[in-house]
Symmetry: C2
DNA sequence: TTTATATCGTTATTGTTGTAACGATATTAA
DNA sequence: TTAATATCGTTACAACAATAACGATATAAA
């Protein structure tokens, strides 16, 4: 196994800013890892012991080499002609993403979206465990939604400190988003998953990740627009294919 | 047009691999446009007549030149020292994204997430109008959610054909996702906004856009992981900043 | 044993996206 | 009128991501 330290291939980044050791994977890699993980869990359940990068690539319509590079970032090593050990690979990806231990999180803002996220079981697969929900609406406080008691915003800071919660899900109306964020930051939250369309102001000791549905919709609209413009809309052709 | 004495020649322009006219905007551009639009609507409501790319950039923490390039893709032309006319800019972006006319859409799968999306008012700002919802659960069929009647999947094809619906929102459980998609495609749906973690199989007369929450969460986890690893977790420091 | 082949890991090349630089232009101020 | 300046649009350059190419290695077949 070769261990080149700073060759063009993989280590971008002005180096000195990062901590040693980690090859600093690209963003696109990080985004693809969960989809591998999802499939790997299925394979594990089926009792598959090994899986090749080629197979992973096929399912997700990617080039095998991309998969191999992505996986290399997690530190795993495969064997030629065989592939990767499924259990090992799951562990490697989970550790790389910080999903090896369930991360406790609070949810702020129990509207339509907030309630839906509380009810979403899938987060357990992504190392996320929403342990409490907060809102300002007296009509909601005290009620239970999907096994989670809704508490007053006044109780946020205490709860976060006591539980050493590091992660917050932000699903409040955009008008009060920054205010809510300030409270979360003061309470000690270090990462915010932002479902509002606002660019949040946070100190650089906190990371904010914006989840913007409009982005995906824009891409879809734009592509659909082109598609409909290019090919004459003929319902027949859509039928023929599969 | 300038004539620089470049050594490397002029083989740089995006060159017309695409259908005539459009300079073929990048994906990243398309993703940013909605956030500009959101702010522009606010400015319009405030009665602002002009806005500069610099201001737009400042709000979203982007470089002004990126904004100018993005806007250039929509075909708008600004005036130096003044900026862009707000109303014109809104129109240009909406037309570019295909949001100038409300696009009717159906939603398939009224679970937690589906119901939440039905209740989300914001889509009207994105040219999207969900006009019907479908599910297989007899317990849900016939009920109304957020002003939308839930219908049986058997009624999907007829409804889509009669209304000439082109867009579908997919919020079914992953196990039945492909099956639902096949029905949608046969009915004449041309664009699918996919909220399941499955890579859909669609003919190339249909575009499928995957909306993957796990992606964003992965990025957040990974960044948070690094942040917590680098700086010693000290609640004090988080307080100090803003 | 030898050969064929699927797959791995790495490096090289090409393409796409972001940043920097710069001339052009409209408003404001001297 | 002239000078200063903010902003626009474009081009040149740099950083990142995807693709292509290639040697290395483990299994299977001859």
């Amino acid at each position: 196994m070769k261990r080149k330290t700073g060759v063009s291939g993989e280590s971008f980044q002005p180096s000195a800013t990062e901590t040693e050791g980690a090859p600093r994977a690209g963003l696109s890699c990080v985004k693809r890892l969960p989809s591998y993980l999802q499939l790997l869990r299925v394979l594990q359940a089926e009792g598959q012991e090994y899986v090749s990068g080629t197979v992973l690539a096929g399912v997700h319509h990617l080039e095998p080499v991309i998969v191999r590079k992505d996986l290399a970032n997690t530190g795993i090593i495969g064997t030629p002609r065989v592939g990767f050990r499924v259990t090992e690979l799951i562990t490697a990806i989970e550790r790389f993403l910080g999903w090896d231990n369930q991360t406790k999180a609070v949810l702020v803002g129990v509207g339509n979206l907030g309630a839906a996220l509380l009810g979403y079981r899938g987060f357990e697969n992504f190392g996320l465990q929403i342990v409490a929900a907060f809102d300002v609406d007296p009509g909601k406080i005290g009620k239970w939604i999907h096994g989670c008691k809704i508490q007053s915003m006044n109780q946020l800071a205490g709860f976060v400190r006591r539980g050493e919660i590091k992660l917050g899900v932000l699903t409040v109306p955009v008008e009060v988003a920054q205010e809510a964020v300030d409270m979360m930051v003061r309470a000690g939250i270090r990462g915010i998953w932002n479902f509002t369309p606002l660019k949040l102001q946070v100190p650089d000791t906190v990371v904010a990740q914006k989840e913007d549905l409009a982005e995906g919709l824009a891409v879809l609209s734009h592509r659909l627009h082109h598609l409909l413009a290019i090919r004459v809309p003929s319902p027949k052709s859509a039928l023929a294919d599969r």
